[in-house]
Symmetry: C2
Subunit: 470 residues, 2 copies
């Protein structure tokens, strides 16, 4: 087996550059085992090098065993073991702005590291007593289904009924049999993308957007295009231009307070987005995982569209628990049928235990009080954190009406990745803007989770990091 | 949007047949939106029809809007919304032998239906008391991580340490950092396939094999080839021929008592399989979810290979619980790194709650006694069920040494799908052989789960169904 990364590269030469290009395509599976390489003439033209340079590179790769020539029919990738490497799909990405590195760091760093940019709320913001009670109730339930048995294809019916009710309150009319449970919001989005797109197809995202959207789309090998998203939401003029030019198959966006900016959708924008989606036969996938943060629901695309070309995906990791992955997908009936097949074939069935916990917490008398208290706490956290950020010289893009996230620009055109590197030396893990930006145009921004910013040391470290980066 | 299924088809005509063929390719995404259709000449030749028939079919599909012609460059699939339909990937499959239908039926049928062919063990065979205790202990744990927090990238460390110990007892030497938790065995297999294969690549399975392998490979659009699997395990001569001829990228097989036959691997076969895998640069994926059923472990390919080209996937749905999906993947370190990236990008993180329950049950003093008692119960169940099957005229392929499954042939060359249809009329859901067979060569067989065969009515219904089908 060849380790493509450790092969000596004739670097600095044109032949070396061509070889490196091909190795990258093979490692990222853009050239799969057995695939035919471009002809020498085509490739020379595409790269702007001479044909002899390409011939030389191909011959050296044959000698290495990475590719093989077949008499009269060109060059082919050797059929050896070359797994899909997400890293090699974006080899140019600095780890400081790599969504996967971001997730790994946040999930694996120890308790000494402060994480003011990370998405999860602190334990004290979660309905722990209701979760404890749910676990005790499931333990003593005479029906052992939640403890022992596989879930049904759609998932626990009482939870789906609750979700349908919650959705109804946000104007999304969906019968419980159009709600399919998934193991998490990400899992729901993954199933939807798997159902609707092929590698190489174009997906449109907001810029900035939730950073794991970018990692997820990378794993689908989607072609990602983005549209500016600001204090008033998505830039609808830019949206119209990008859709007309790029013909994306899907627009992956968020409902409620957007991650990372905290901006919400207006009814006028919603109408405009749906009109464009209809005109260009584009599907909209709407991530609604922050629904319960909103005191008054902002417009949902799924509501206006009636779930014809909008798929809504949601979950409860922010308001119930992050430890027991619960998500759901709401879509038109024929798509739900196809999604069930995909779910059953790829993960067999969901977790009855997680669904039972979510159902019991949501139906407990205390959940409504919990989310109301949570909204109040987050409003106070946002106000305090905004003041502290301004004191450090940062300029918030807007003052969000709900949710934990704040999106703020560093002073003096500083690079957030550089500031984040200095902060990490002092055990503060920041979230630099370009992690969230498909076009890497948020270089000067940072995302903050106001609920994770109580510790004053965060702002001392931030101030020092800004000074060092300045 | 065009509903491909409901379009009127000029059935009975050659033009209609060509149109139906193309619609099927579009619905199953073998022809993706934007893809170029075969040239008229090529397609006419491939289907053995005249060019004018193909021209006629293409023109009608253009009129329908399913495809479009571009001047001078042929016909293309319209870029409209055509999701991946697993059903339409196998349109010829009778639902009685459709793995997806099988899973849906078993997961959704009511308590009145007896399921002697279904995989899960009855509640009374599960360590329910230990699960109840685990839930209570997690509820009162002063550390709320198992109730509230996201899991680490690899998953709960103490559970991975336990898994490493269990694997060591079966001869598989793996450090805990080579064990990655997944949400289920199926989810682990899905991640591994996603990491290692592309659509269209060839995967080899045993014939018969676990039916969800076939559904999973369908969702990956893998090309499936199979090799006969009998009372002595896989037919190694056939295996050598199939590998040489088909060059599969992966051999997906089972460790321990095979599902559905109950046969186990011998050391000699294991050596032969690994030698072939090395010679042909083939990866082996070994599903070890029945490990704890074996009193004495049979040989593991992962043990002999040292986890170089073998990936082992396991879980606990059969011996701990089916309600809280727990699985794991063990592989070489560089692959584990790539698998973590895929897991984080497609489902963000695993369930800390499920992992904590599994950890607590596995480390409870009662688990060892539980699995020992379970093995004894299953041995008695197998003996009783074998006797009852023989009394109905069925011939078991072998008498398995462990596990719940029995694989038995109907008398008189009867078709198991026909027998299953009659039995379903009396609310008994059987598992006909061809659900398990990629080549549909197990037409006369049925799988039984000896633990789910206590009810005498099953055999009364089976006897009647055999008589009616005879």
């Amino acid at each position: 087996m060849h380790d493509l990364v450790s092969q000596p590269i004739a670097s600095g030469t044109r032949v070396g550059a061509v070889m490196a290009d091909i190795r990258g395509r093979i490692a990222s599976r853009r050239l799969a085992p057995g695939a035919r390489l471009p002809s020498v003439r085509e490739f020379a033209q595409a790269l702007g090098v001479s044909k002899s340079t390409v011939v030389d590179a191909y011959e050296r790769l044959v000698a290495e065993g990475a590719i093989a020539s077949r008499r009269g029919s060109g060059f082919y990738v050797e059929g050896t073991t070359r797994p899909l490497s997400l890293q090699s799909l974006r080899p140019d990405l600095d780890r400081a702005i790599d969504p996967l590195w971001m997730t790994r760091q946040n999930l694996s760093c120890g308790p000494d590291v402060l994480k003011p940019g990370w998405g999860l709320l602190p334990d004290s913001y979660m309905p722990d007593e209701a979760v404890q009670r749910a676990l005790r109730d499931i333990a003593r339930d005479p029906d052992p289904a939640g403890r022992l048995r596989y879930a049904s294809p759609l998932g626990l019916a009482p939870l789906r009924e609750q979700i349908a009710l919650h959705l109804g309150a946000r104007g999304v009319a969906a019968e419980p049999d159009r709600v399919m449970l998934a193991d998490s919001v990400s899992h729901g989005l993954d199933l939807v993308l798997r159902y609707l797109i092929e590698p190489g197809e174009t997906v449109l995202v907001d810029d900035p957007c939730y950073f794991n959207f970018l990692a997820l789309l990378l794993s689908h090998r989607a072609r990602v295009v983005s549209v500016p998203f600001g204090a008033d939401g998505v830039d609808v003029e830019a949206l119209a231009r990008v859709i007309a030019a790029e013909r994306p198959r899907i627009y992956l966006t968020t409902a409620g307070p957007q991650n990372p900016t905290g901006a919400t959708l207006s009814a006028a924008t919603a109408h405009r987005v749906l009109t464009l989606a209809e005109r260009h036969d584009m599907i909209v996938v709407e991530d609604d995982c922050f629904a319960d943060f909103e005191p008054e629901p902002s417009p949902r695309l799924a509501a206006a569209d009636g779930l014809r070309r909008v798929v809504l995906v949601g979950g409860f990791s922010k308001t119930v628990s992050g430890a027991m992955r619960n998500g759901f997908v709401v879509a038109r009936p024929d798509w739900i049928e196809g999604l069930i097949d995909l779910k059953l074939s790829t993960c067999h069935s969901g977790s009855n235990l997680s669904a039972q916990v979510a159902h019991r917490v949501l139906s407990s008398g205390t959940y409504k009080r919990h989310v109301e208290a949570l909204r109040g706490k987050l409003a106070r956290d946002r106000a305090l954190t905004l003041a502290r950020l301004r004191a450090c010289g940062l300029a918030p893009m807007l003052e969000p009406r709900s949710g934990p996230y704040l999106w703020a620009e560093l002073p003096g055109g500083l690079d957030a990745a550089a500031v984040a590197r200095f902060a990490l030396e002092e055990d503060v893990l920041l979230a630099p803007g370009d992690v969230f930006s498909a076009s890497r145009s948020s270089t000067g921004f940072l995302r903050f989770n106001a609920a994770a910013c109580a510790e004053p040391r965060i702002f001392e470290v931030l101030a020092r990091a800004i000074e060092r980066a300045g």
